[in-house]
């Protein structure tokens, strides 16, 4: 091993998050899930482009994972929660979570952040932009080289369109604690990726977040406290 290779190896071992200057600008932001990155035309969400993901089972989970992977890679990810649906108990606070005052505020915030150039991945959840607003968002993403993903039913102007579909027959079940009914333990979803001249799909398993904080002493009996007489 020559000296420069040795120095590179040493730097890679000491500073695993540091990136060589030649790789500073990636053309895409990977999701961090190898199976899904393989089905995307550029191995992830394209920087400077608009992508859309239809809201369905698994879409938010996979986008959250993409945000976490982006942050783990040393870049910034933002989740814009337009409808304030994120539950704090199951939110991993590594991506920046923005709660705008309204749908219009969400679009403004998205445009501002996308244009700034300071964020690699921006997810807009819960807003349904009009065509003119989409044009503005698309321009902002291009100016700031941000991968902008809309978690909405609007797919116009999106260069990459993703959708996920639950495969009910492949769900993993288990008997409940009292042996009454089946509880779903993990789900399987099929993710379709469409782009110009591109279609690919993949199935992936996802586990479920469960609220472990249960205070009920006897789960097998009705809770009648506070019931009106």
């Amino acid at each position: 091993m020559n000296r420069s290779a040795a120095v590179r190896a040493l730097l890679a071992s000491r500073f695993p998050d540091a990136l060589p200057a030649a790789q500073r600008s990636w053309s895409s932001v990977p999701l961090g899930i190898a199976a899904l990155d393989r089905i995307l035309p550029s191995g992830g969400f394209q920087r400077g482009r608009l992508s859309s993901w239809l809201p369905a089972l698994g879409s938010a989970a996979l986008l959250r994972a993409a945000c976490l992977h982006t942050v783990a890679g040393g870049e910034r990810a933002v989740w814009i929660d337009a409808r304030h649906t994120v539950v704090g108990a199951c939110w991993r606070p590594a991506p920046i979570l923005v709660r705008p005052p309204s749908a219009v505020g969400a679009l403004r915030a998205t445009e501002e952040l996308a244009r700034s150039g300071g964020f690699a991945l921006i997810v807009l959840d819960g807003a349904e932009p009009e065509t003119t607003e989409l044009v503005r968002l698309s321009r902002a993403a291009r100016e700031g080289s941000a991968a902008l993903v809309l978690l909405s039913r609007v797919t116009a102007l999106a260069t990459l369109r993703l959708s996920s579909r639950p495969l009910l027959g492949d769900y993993v079940w288990r008997r409940s604690a009292v042996g009454d009914a089946d509880e779903v333990e993990a789900v399987r979803v099929r993710v379709d990726a469409r782009a110009s001249g591109w279609f690919a799909s993949e199935t992936i398993s996802l586990s479920l977040w469960r609220d472990d904080l249960r205070l009920s002493v006897e789960t097998g009996r009705p809770d009648r406290r506070g019931e009106r007489r």
Partner: protein, 430 residues
């Protein structure tokens, strides 16, 4: 030269105290400080020190002091020793020679306390130079912390802050006109933009940003309308100010025409520069990211992070804590397992009331299908219920929560209010 020290102000029978004398000297020196042990200090920074000392001595003589002395030096201790033990009416220590000036003087001129003076006698250290030549560890071992402080004085290293930092007035600017009155917001903005440029420039020069500023409109009828602004962070950016002002002007209704505008900074803070991590790939863009976040905060959005309690109701469990834009400089630590995708609960903005067909199971009404806004949904499974109730000190609640899987594969959280008997969908997994 920085300090002028005045000593031998009055003979022991003098009636006036040193404190009474100080205000007279303020006519000559911008800042004066009197000490109870009979010393007066004058701040000579930026002034010709020698003429100032002469003037102060003349004032003292006119006041009745028989033989006042002045010492001029770059450090307080050298000025004090020059004044008290210098041997002339005015002793000036050349710049950079304070230590050399102190060197031949006895250590007693540094005013050590009794215990320390005895210790010094025992060690045989007589002159300042003898003490200054030692290293700090040797002094600390033998003489303790007080000895180190004296050792620093002997080296003309005086940490005393005799004069507090000058408090600068916060910048402000105003514009008034008498020939006409303005009603057009665009023309008002033009005037305000000029004022903001002046004020922001003054803030930048001082290395500060405003955490609050006020725009006041003088109206033709004589009234004044004030509009306070509170930027999301210490801000001295004219563009940000103008955006805030523009947004406010769009909503502001003035009862009369405007004949003057006044812009003042109410509170300011030092512009913070955060030390980032140079090995962070986001380091290079952290500044623009912070500025972008500050802009969206000014537009009413909030950056939040959850603070979870152990409340049994998931919707009441989280207190959202607002975060500053400087959050972007943080580098969260994420392990490999943290990036695993997992379905999480999303609460609906408003719970959706539903009509439910149920069956009995161990005393509970278990949902079989429900009708919501989009029609009927058959349920494959309804696990639960999780019974939560409480609210002794707030609104009482009693809920039965079911995790339901629909035939289309979607998973919803259905809640039965045990008090009202009503059903609603409160969230979905996504």
């Amino acid at each position: 030269m920085t300090f002028v020290c005045l000593s031998r102000l009055a003979d022991p029978t003098g009636a006036a105290s040193v404190a009474e004398l100080a205000p007279r000297l303020l006519a000559r020196a911008p800042r004066v400080r009197a000490e109870a042990r009979g010393l007066i200090w004058a701040d000579a920074r930026g002034l010709p020190a020698r003429p100032l000392a002469d003037e102060l001595l003349a004032l003292l003589r006119a006041w009745g002091s028989a033989d006042p002395r002045a010492g001029i030096a770059g450090t307080a201790i050298a000025a004090e020793v020059a004044s008290r033990f210098g041997g002339g009416p005015v002793v000036e220590v050349p710049a950079g020679t304070d230590r050399e000036f102190l060197a031949p003087h006895r250590v007693a001129v540094l005013s050590p306390d009794e215990r320390l003076a005895r210790l010094l006698e025992g060690t045989g250290l007589e002159r300042c130079d003898d003490l200054a030549r030692l290293d700090s560890a040797a002094v600390e071992v033998r003489l303790g912390a007080d000895g180190v402080a004296l050792w620093r004085l002997a080296r003309a290293d005086d940490p005393r802050l005799l004069f507090d930092p000058t408090v600068r007035p916060l910048p402000h600017a105003s514009l008034e006109w008498t020939d006409y009155a303005l009603r057009d917001p665009e023309r008002l903005l033009f005037a305000i933009n000029g004022l903001a440029g002046t004020v922001c420039g003054a803030l930048r020069d001082a290395g500060q940003g405003a955490t609050g500023f006020t725009l006041a409109f003088a109206l033709a009828g004589g009234a004044v309308v004030e509009r306070p602004f509170h930027p999301s962070r210490a801000n001295g950016n004219q563009r940000t100010w103008m955006r805030l002002v523009r947004d406010a002007l769009e909503r502001l209704e003035l009862p009369d025409a405007v004949v003057g505008v006044f812009l003042r900074v109410d509170s300011a803070a030092r512009s913070e520069i955060v030390q980032g991590d140079v090995l962070d790939r986001g380091f290079g863009t952290a500044q623009v990211a912070e500025e972008a976040l500050a802009r969206i905060l000014d537009q009413g959005s909030v950056v939040v992070t959850p603070d979870n309690s152990r409340h049994p109701v998931v919707s009441r469990r989280t207190r959202w804590v607002e975060q500053p834009p400087a959050l972007v400089w943080a580098r969260p630590q994420i392990g490999p397992g943290d990036t695993e995708p997992r379905l999480a609960l999303h609460l609906m903005p408003e719970p959706e009331p539903i009509e439910v067909a149920t069956a009995d199971r161990r005393g509970f009404e278990i949902p079989l299908r429900y009708r919501g806004r989009d029609g009927w949904f058959e349920l494959v499974s309804a696990s639960g219920p999780d019974c939560v109730s409480g609210g002794q000190w707030e609104a009482a609640y009693a809920c039965e929560l079911y995790c339901c899987v629909r035939t289309d594969g979607e998973i919803v959280l259905v809640c039965r209010d045990a008090r009202e008997g009503t059903w609603e969908v409160v969230g979905t997994w996504g």
